[in-house]
């Protein structure tokens, strides 16, 4: 480890995943474990609280969760007018999960890697959303749900008609189709890359600040404070765009 203590080495070390396997069948254990643990803790906790939820005076945790959940629900109700029971839980999952994963960014960059290093784990990329595998997994899942919802709401014929006739009418069907394909493929890519890019860049800035020696102290705090805004905003944007895509999928043009 001591031989890696150059600037480049330090940065590269921080951006290397803990992997197992090779080729396509490489598994990023840190991403899988951190995101999975966070999700299990957060959603398990929410399920526990929700199971004991009362319609009377809500306890502290119930109140907090209700606040977060109804914030998402309000956005969904404002945007999505379909009937699907899936959209609100989907939006809640995205918002909460992305938020807690992003929030891992606020833990000082060396804290968990050094702790893990002491335990014999030499690579640990703590923030799961800086792994494009995760962001693409989410955006592609959203994409699949979107396509499925298109079929479900409009039916095969209706969906095909929309794909080939919007926006220029049936005479220009191939162009319409091409536009539609580009538009729909752009959705998951932009969704995934936006989150990945923001979090990757934010993490990079944290790493660079950590390289400044004693000057990191006055710099890390304001960047962390600013980053609270970014992690919330990115979680919100991912959720909001998902809801918008769902709403577009269930409304005829």
């Amino acid at each position: 480890m001591s031989s890696e203590l150059t600037t480049t080495g330090y940065i590269q070390h921080h951006l290397t995943n803990l992997t197992v396997g090779s080729g396509f069948w490489t598994w990023h254990l840190d991403t899988l474990i951190v995101s999975g643990l966070l999700g299990l803790i957060v959603f398990g906790g929410m399920a526990l609280v929700a199971r004991r939820a009362t319609s009377g005076l809500p306890s502290g945790w119930q109140n907090f969760i209700e606040m977060a959940v109804s914030l998402v629900d309000k956005q969904v109700k404002d945007t999505y007018h379909g009937k699907s029971e899936l959209v609100t839980p989907l939006a809640i999952t995205i918002f909460i999960w992305v938020f807690v994963m992003n929030a891992m960014d606020l833990i000082p960059v060396d804290f968990l890697p050094i702790t893990a290093g002491a335990a014999g784990v030499h690579y640990l990329k703590v923030v799961p959303t800086t792994d494009p595998n995760l962001t693409f997994a989410m955006s592609l899942s959203v994409f699949c749900i979107m396509i499925w919802m298109n079929f479900k709401v409009k039916g095969f014929g209706g969906f095909m008609h929309e794909v080939f006739s919007v926006p220029f009418g049936l005479k220009l069907a191939p162009i319409n189709f091409l536009f539609r394909v580009i538009e729909d493929i752009a959705k998951p890519i932009s969704l995934a890359l936006r989150l990945f890019g923001n979090m990757y860049a934010g993490e990079m800035v944290f790493i660079l600040i950590a390289l400044l020696g004693v000057w990191q102290l006055p710099l890390a705090l304001p960047w962390a404070l600013f980053h609270i805004l970014i992690i919330t905003l990115q979680a919100f944007v991912f959720m909001m765009l998902t809801v918008v895509y769902m709403s577009m999928a269930s409304e005829s043009h």
């Binding site: 929700a50 009362t54 899936l86 595998n133 989410m138």
Partner: protein
């Protein structure tokens, strides 16, 4: 930035968490929130109803109070009238009684006078006889002159 099997794992995690949220988190919370909303709405409605009832009760109590006052005034007036009446009756009865007593007393006095006169008459006759006896002790025989004495007694 390399895409690999992690993507599959993450998609599975994502699906698991959506399932948890959809099955265990959202429905109970939604139900609790909807129930609470309903309860609050019910409570507000009940409060409004209570307010209305209160106003109604206040109006009714004022009405009752007014009626009671009227009735009591009426009772007092009636009692006064009745009292007056009783006094009048008592006065008449007293006068009648007094007249009766006076008449009785007068009759008694008359009777007493008569009796006294009778007694007096007898006594005078006796005295006259006694006087005459004393005067005529020797010459007059009581039995001989009884007729004459009786006639005398009658004249007194």
């Amino acid at each position: 930035m390399n895409i690999n099997a992690t993507l599959i794992g993450q998609a599975i995690w994502f699906a698991v968490f959506i399932w948890i949220t959809m099955k265990f988190v959202w429905p109970p919370l939604q139900k609790a929130m909807a129930d609470r909303q309903q309860q609050i709405a019910d409570g507000l409605a009940a409060g409004e109803r209570g307010q209305q009832n209160l106003e109604l009760a206040a109006r009714r109590s004022a009405e009752t109070l007014r009626e009671a006052k009227e009735k009591s005034a009426e009772v007092v007036a009636q009692a006064e009238r009745r009292g007056q009446h009783l006094i009048e009756e008592a006065k008449i009865a007293a006068r009648v009684e007094a007249d009766k007593v006076v008449a009785g007393a007068k009759a008694e006095i008359e009777q007493e006078v008569q009796k006294a006169r009778q007694v007096l008459r007898d006594r005078v006759a006796e005295l006259a006889v006694a006087g005459a006896e004393k005067i005529l002790r020797r010459e007059v025989d009581a039995s001989v002159h009884a007729d004459m004495l009786t006639t005398l007694k009658q004249e007194l």
